[in-house]
């Protein structure tokens, strides 16, 4: 009898990826925000589009965003592995090979850009290509590991979808599209810095130069307040363009008042207070930031309905 024994229970190969693992590469939660903001950008635009063309455009914008997410996961596998929040992503978990993620991301990027060009127009496709490039190369490969301003500049990638939606419908970039872009761009830093305040250990372990790591939590709290205050005129300014109106302005006033109050509260808190209640205020500010963005875009959408137009004409009748 041979002395050689083979341990058949020992796993030598990484687990084979399932369909769900490839879906996870697309960052579905980020994608849902992209779909929503792009859809609003498309629906509030003055031009109307055939429903199938609009649907196809949204699908390809979402695919492009997902492709950028896959490229991000391919490049960031080393730091994702060290962070609690991201360690179970398909590449660091070993279910998807890095090469597969790269091929998947590149292939989907090409399909998404080319198909959006055919479905809508080539300006929208060019903007989508630039968004993917900006997120995968400028943010992921360069800024994220180089500067604490990473999410300030990198936030542009997440701000493009409503602009692309607008361009899909109109064929050009208008002031409304720029303001929707600016709204998300200015919202991103307080949103992510609030997350970094209670996830700081993750970023320190992965050596990602988030503001909390490089300048400390005190400075981050001040930055959250400054950026939140800078966000207010952008949010209210959008209400004075053709996509705004009384409904939007009322919603924006309430949401901005709560957001500024939250940022003020964060700026006054000490680390001892934050640790004592396990960063409750930081976590609630982070959660509210999601509602803040959703509320603004929902208000844009409401303003585009005939009901809001009726309300506007009534206000005009009353001389308001």
């Amino acid at each position: 009898m041979s002395d050689i024994r083979v341990d058949i229970t020992h796993k030598t190969e990484p687990a084979e990826a399932g369909f769900g693992d490839f879906v996870a590469l697309l960052k579905p939660r980020v994608m849902s925000l992209v779909v929503f903001t792009a859809l609003v950008g498309l629906l509030v635009a003055p031009n109307t589009l055939h429903p199938i063309e609009a649907f196809a455009a949204i699908v390809f914008i979402a695919l492009g965003a997902g492709a950028a997410g896959a490229l991000n996961m391919w490049w960031d596998a080393d730091i994702d592995r060290q962070m609690r929040r991201t360690a179970r992503r398909p590449v660091p978990a070993g279910t998807v090979e890095p090469g597969e993620a790269l091929g998947f991301g590149l292939g989907l990027s090409l399909i998404a850009v080319f198909m959006l060009g055919l479905a809508a127009n080539w300006l929208a496709a060019g903007l989508l290509a630039f968004t993917i490039f900006f997120y995968a190369v400028v943010y992921t490969m360069w800024l994220k590991r180089a500067t604490p301003q990473n999410i300030v500049i990198g936030g542009a990638a997440g701000a493009f979808p409503p602009m692309i939606g607008w361009v899909v419908a109109t064929g050009h970039v208008g002031i409304e599209a720029v303001l929707m872009f600016a709204l998300i761009f200015m919202w991103t830093p307080p949103h992510f810095w609030a997350l970094a305040l209670f996830m700081n250990d993750d970023y320190t372990r992965a050596k990602v130069p988030m503001l909390t790591v490089t300048h400390g939590r005190r400075a981050t709290r001040v930055h959250v307040l400054v950026y939140t205050l800078a966000l207010v005129p952008v949010a209210l300014g959008a209400g004075l363009t053709s996509i705004g109106g009384p409904v939007y302005l009322a919603v924006a006033l309430v949401l901005n008042a709560i957001f500024v109050a939250g940022a003020l509260r964060l700026s006054q808190r000490t680390e001892v207070e934050a640790e004592a209640d396990r960063y409750r205020a930081e976590k609630s500010f982070f959660k509210f930031s999601l509602l803040y963005l959703f509320g603004h875009f929902l208000a844009f959408l409401i303003e585009a309905t005939p009901w809001a137009a009726l309300l506007r004409s009534q206000f005009a009748y009353w001389g308001l």
Binding site: A17, G18, F19, H50, I52, E53
Partner: protein, 68 residues
């Protein structure tokens, strides 16, 4: 190691193949729908029929030929 017919690997591969198949079907349906939407939205298209037609000559006030 012998793989049983219902090994976990088979289930995973079946799931992946099914997902790819459904995605492809959805993509084909989307492109088909998009084609129909584009074609029906473009009005009547007149192809060049190798014969000079003054009605299609923009130089003398005719249509460009792309749409009616």
């Amino acid at each position: 190691m012998a793989l049983a017919r219902d090994h976990e690997l088979h289930r995973r591969r079946f799931g992946r193949n099914l997902g790819v198949a459904l995605t492809l079907v959805a993509f084909i349906a989307l492109v088909f729908g998009l084609t129909i939407a584009k074609v029906s939205g473009g009005g009547t298209v007149q192809a060049f029929d190798h014969t000079y037609r003054p009605a299609l000559d923009p130089a003398i006030g005719g249509e460009t030929g792309a749409r009616e």
